[in-house]
Symmetry: C2
Subunit: 153 residues, 2 copies
DNA sequence: GGGGACTTGATGATGTGTCATTTACGTCTG
DNA sequence: CAGACGTAAATGACACATCATCAAGTCCCC
């Protein structure tokens, strides 16, 4: 006997889904048009920028981004083709590799970040007060814990 | 002068992004594995099920789903190939067409829905109380209004 | 009723994500 | 040190999304 969603649940869930879809689409379009980067590119570049010397092992990047290994590999190939990152061999573990931020990659992320942050602020953060943010963070953390619990079983 | 995110904002935004990515991935995987449908398939089938006689004009479907026209067209082609929907000519407007739910499509959505709803409940709704849902809905509505305001300018 | 503008919808090219598999190297154990 | 097992990463096939463009029909106004 399925317990379907009641009206409150239905409205909240749909509103959430709609916000997710439209906000993500909007952020992606802004980034793409203003900087020629996708949201995925942006995430990769941010992670590399935060890393020491702009270099990371792919598997470290993978854990940080929570991407599938194969997705990362394909994406890095495309970014490499565009000159945003480069791959280097890893001394000491010859299976391994390093992903390195190129100068062009660093330029791209530095040019893109202000506009992206401004857009996140304008369309999301400015629509929420501190209390909303706390509630959202608490909810998200609980959902994530629930997902973790499931994955590890 | 970019105003970067402060700690509270950073944490909330990241938690939201992470929840979004992982929850969507989890829901998609559950649906795919248990029913052989993608989330996109599911949305299309739900819209058709709600429609009178399981038939809709593609452009009506498009507005309801808020998809790009081309995405819908491609997706319908794939679903048609799999026998989930069918296309029919539209009397009265010979440009137009109808998308029709096939018996197989109806079976698929009826088989998939209970599991999907249960998963949404287990991983999302059960992690929120009524107050959380109200807050989320209010926030989502405000973000959506902001997006609307931008689009129409 | 003829011609432009809009609407409905399909298509091809390209970039992206996932799954399954492969390659190559490391590690541990008998 | 040989073989089994595990780990790092790449690859190929396919499903999906987006963009630009096209084809065909409808609407409207002169």
């Amino acid at each position: 006997m399925t317990r379907w969603l009641d009206d409150d649940e239905q409205r909240a869930w749909r509103a959430y889904l709609q916000m997710q879809n439209r906000l993500t689409a909007h952020l992606g379009r802004q980034l793409q048009q203003d900087s020629g980067l996708s949201l995925a590119d942006y995430e990769v570049l941010v992670a590399l920028t935060d890393a020491d010397e702009g270099r990371l092992r792919p598997f470290a990047l993978q854990e940080q981004l929570e991407w599938e290994q194969s997705r990362l590999s394909h994406h890095l190939s495309r970014m490499q083709r565009r000159g945003l990152v480069d791959r280097e061999g890893c001394p000491g573990d010859r299976r391994g590799a390093f992903v390195v931020l190129t100068p062009a990659g660093r330029e791209a992320i530095e040019a893109a970040a202000p506009g992206h942050v401004a857009t996140v602020r304008e369309f999301f953060l400015d629509q929420a007060d501190r209390e909303d943010l706390r509630t959202l963070e608490r909810l998200a953390d609980r959902v994530l814990r629930r997902l973790d619990a499931d994955g590890r079983s």
